[in-house]
């Protein structure tokens, strides 16, 4: 949107000035810290959490869901205290702009003295935040959505704990299920940007490894509203199944149009879970029936743990939780565990207590892998089925403790 572009430009000018000031402040602070020992976080009897999330623009809904998840745990279930320490929050809007994300992070680390950073939504923003967090070392980064595997591959940092997922986990593990149960040949369709390309490539690698063949690849620009001519290419490929990565409104447009052109009668649609998630399914409706997807959180999963979470969330916010809310909730669980185990908010002891730790997540098994701090977790293969007044995902198989590669990271 032109309006956003203009305001972002303005914002980034402002922030770069602030960034410079903050930067020089940091240098002074760092040298002082050298003299007086520990850089120290905020007051000893409080825990400060900084939300670096989008609260405006396309992803604002995701940002709000993550905050809701965090607050459900800390404010509602723990009465705003972790281990006797009061929880405080600061939040700032990243929009979708990496530079803004980086300067907010810097501000939170240096002037707000946060103990935890929760966010961001976009992997591009995460890439810009990483150097700030790695060099500061004064807070734990609970990455509540950015899935780019390269955050771990390039210069992995011990302060980064992914309470969400990585791109490999939401694509590759579906390959052998498809090859065994659905089809041994697929066409790939994806939103043509970093995340879509990664999902497609990681899936392709795994699918070929298990003996399947990829007939064709079709990339559509991010934000395409009419997929009909791409759908024709997909149909022409003659494949028996499709694996796709689309999210949000792209996923709704793609799935609705896929079925309106009758492709659902000719081939089986599969994809990364964002293609058919709780926040798109209602709009996709019956067009999504029978389609398969893979994700780490399914609100309809029939476990007591999940049911308790869904009930608590629904009664608090009057809506069912989505995967982002679960990632927020798990970020809160991680913060809780870190402070409690470490007996305080000193960063390095908290890092040691989180590495390898298990969380009692609504999604199922969850552990921070010691070598990468990426999650090891259960992944659900779901199929869309009819439900009262609409459609919903039904878990058809749960892949247990899915790890994925370490990409050379060894913390």
């Amino acid at each position: 949107m032109p309006s956003e572009r203009m305001s972002d430009e303005k914002r980034s000018v402002q922030f770069s000035r602030r960034k410079f000031l903050a930067g020089s402040g940091a240098t002074v602070a760092a040298s002082l810290a050298g003299c007086f020992g520990s850089a120290g976080s905020s007051g000893s009897d409080s825990v400060k959490i900084g939300f670096v999330l989008p609260f405006s623009g396309t992803y604002s809904f995701l940002g709000e869901s993550i905050v809701n998840g965090v607050k459900l745990r800390l404010d509602e279930q723990l009465d705003g205290e972790i281990d006797g320490r009061t929880v405080e929050y600061v939040r700032k809007d990243t929009g979708a702009d990496p530079a803004t994300g980086a300067s907010i992070t810097q501000e939170f680390l240096q002037s707000e003295n946060v103990d935890f950073i929760v966010g961001p939504v976009s992997s591009a923003v995460a890439g810009a935040m990483k150097p700030e967090i790695a060099s500061s070392g004064s807070a734990i980064w609970l990455n509540a959505n950015a899935g780019n595997f390269k955050l771990v591959q390039d210069n992995c940092t011990k302060y980064h704990f992914r309470t969400s997922f990585n791109t490999w986990q939401t694509s590759a593990p579906l390959a052998s299920y498809i090859n065994d149960n659905i089809a041994d040949n697929v066409v790939l369709s994806y939103a043509n940007y970093t995340f879509g390309q990664q999902s497609k490539n990681l899936f392709r690698e795994e699918f070929e490894k298990v003996g399947g063949s990829v007939v064709d690849e079709i990339g559509a620009p991010l934000g395409t509203s009419d997929y009909s001519s791409f759908l024709q290419e997909i149909e022409n490929s003659g494949a028996d199944a499709v694996f796709s990565f689309f999210a949000g409104s792209d996923a709704v447009n793609y799935i609705k149009q896929f079925s309106s052109f009758g492709l659902n009668e000719k081939m089986t649609q599969t994809g990364s879970g964002f293609l058919l998630s709780a926040d798109t399914l209602q709009a996709q409706g019956t067009a999504a029936l029978g389609m398969y997807s893979l994700l780490h959180y399914t609100p309809t999963k029939q476990t007591d743990r999940n049911q308790a979470f869904v009930d608590a969330y629904s009664s608090q916010y009057d809506t069912t939780p989505n995967v982002y809310a679960c990632q927020g909730y798990d970020s809160a669980l991680a913060a809780e565990l870190a402070v409690t185990e470490a007996g305080g908010t000193e960063t390095d002891p908290m890092v040691s207590s989180l590495a390898g730790a298990e969380l009692d997540s609504p999604r199922g098994y969850f552990k921070f892998k010691s070598s990468t701090h990426d999650p090891v977790m259960d992944m659900d293969i779901r199929q869309v089925v009819e439900a009262d007044g609409g459609v919903q995902n039904e878990v058809v198989e749960t892949l247990t403790q899915v790890e994925g590669p370490t990409w050379g990271c060894n913390l």
Partner: protein
């Protein structure tokens, strides 16, 4: 590419193009008449979709939404024109740009506040579900309906502008509004009427496309960029330009993924640049621009 494929892609192109006309015509008429570049036009389209969504939820009747939502958008458009744009006529066009830009931002916030940021969709009426067998290939019925409505509206507008009294006043006002005013027609009312008409068309497109596509607060931005490109290609202010431009872009959207899959995003802008190099006023634009 087989003959069925080409035929189907061509039909897709016609359909995508003609549907875009509903949006671009309003944009170009408003500019042609009042020299107002209406950045809020995409937001009016978005409101059409959201009003439609609410009417369908409340009444359960899609056809009611098709009728009511565009009228509501027309009413809102009329209010916007009367209360805020009218006092600025005759000033530097930048005032209108800033004003309508402001409306676009406000409406985006308002829609997110009222309806939420999540993706929604208007359910297809059962009468228009399914596909039609067109011998060489089958085609979704709803899309044929979209095409039919777009063609009918475009043709009706064309005839109205050529033949009706109002059409004559409209064209005269676009040509020389002072003279029309001097001859006893209240040009300001003509302007309001044109703005309302443009808004109704945008609202209509909103309901129709909100049914075949996702409804979310980002839909205003995605349509307005494409609509502006089309209007620039066709020539700002030209009705014929808006129709031909939309048709060309529809074809580009349809055949692009087949012949240049890696460049589909860029094709529209390449075309726009090429047209502007050869004909700076657009295909059907008048060079002096006033």
């Amino acid at each position: 590419m087989a003959i069925e494929g080409i035929a189907k892609t061509a039909l897709l192109g016609v359909e995508m193009g003609m549907t875009l006309v509903l949006v671009t015509v309003g944009l170009t008429l408003i500019f042609g008449m009042m020299d107002v570049i209406n950045f809020a036009h995409g937001s009016l389209y978005m409101l059409g979709a959201y009003f439609g969504l609410t009417v369908v939820t409340v009444t359960g009747n899609w056809w009611a939404a098709l009728l009511v939502a565009p009228l509501l958008v027309g009413l809102l458009g009329g209010l916007i024109e009367y209360l805020s744009i009218r006092p600025l006529y005759g000033r530097n066009p930048l005032y209108h740009i800033l004003l309508t830009f402001g409306f676009a931002i406000m409406l985006h916030g308002l829609v997110t506040e009222i309806w939420g940021g999540q993706v929604q969709n208007i359910a297809t009426p059962s009468l228009l579900e399914g596909s039609v067998d067109l011998v060489l290939f089958s085609y979704p019925l709803f899309r044929l309906f979209l095409l039919g409505v777009s063609i009918a509206v475009t043709a009706a507008l064309w005839v109205a502008m050529r033949r009706s009294d109002f059409g004559i006043v409209m064209r005269a006002s676009a040509h020389d509004s002072e003279m029309v005013d001097a001859l006893g027609t209240d040009v300001k009312r003509v302007f309001t009427a044109v703005f309302v008409l443009g808004s109704i068309l945008a609202g209509l497109a909103g309901v129709l496309l909100g049914t075949s596509r996702a409804v979310d607060p980002g839909m205003a931005a995605s349509i307005i960029i494409q609509a502006f490109a089309i209007v620039v290609i066709g020539g700002l202010g030209s009705y014929r330009g808006a129709v031909v431009g939309a048709f060309v872009v529809g074809m580009l959207n349809a055949f692009g993924p087949t012949f240049a899959p890696q460049f589909t995003d860029a094709l529209l802008y390449l075309l726009m640049a090429a047209v502007l190099l050869v004909k700076p006023a657009g295909l059907f634009g008048t060079p002096e621009g006033a």
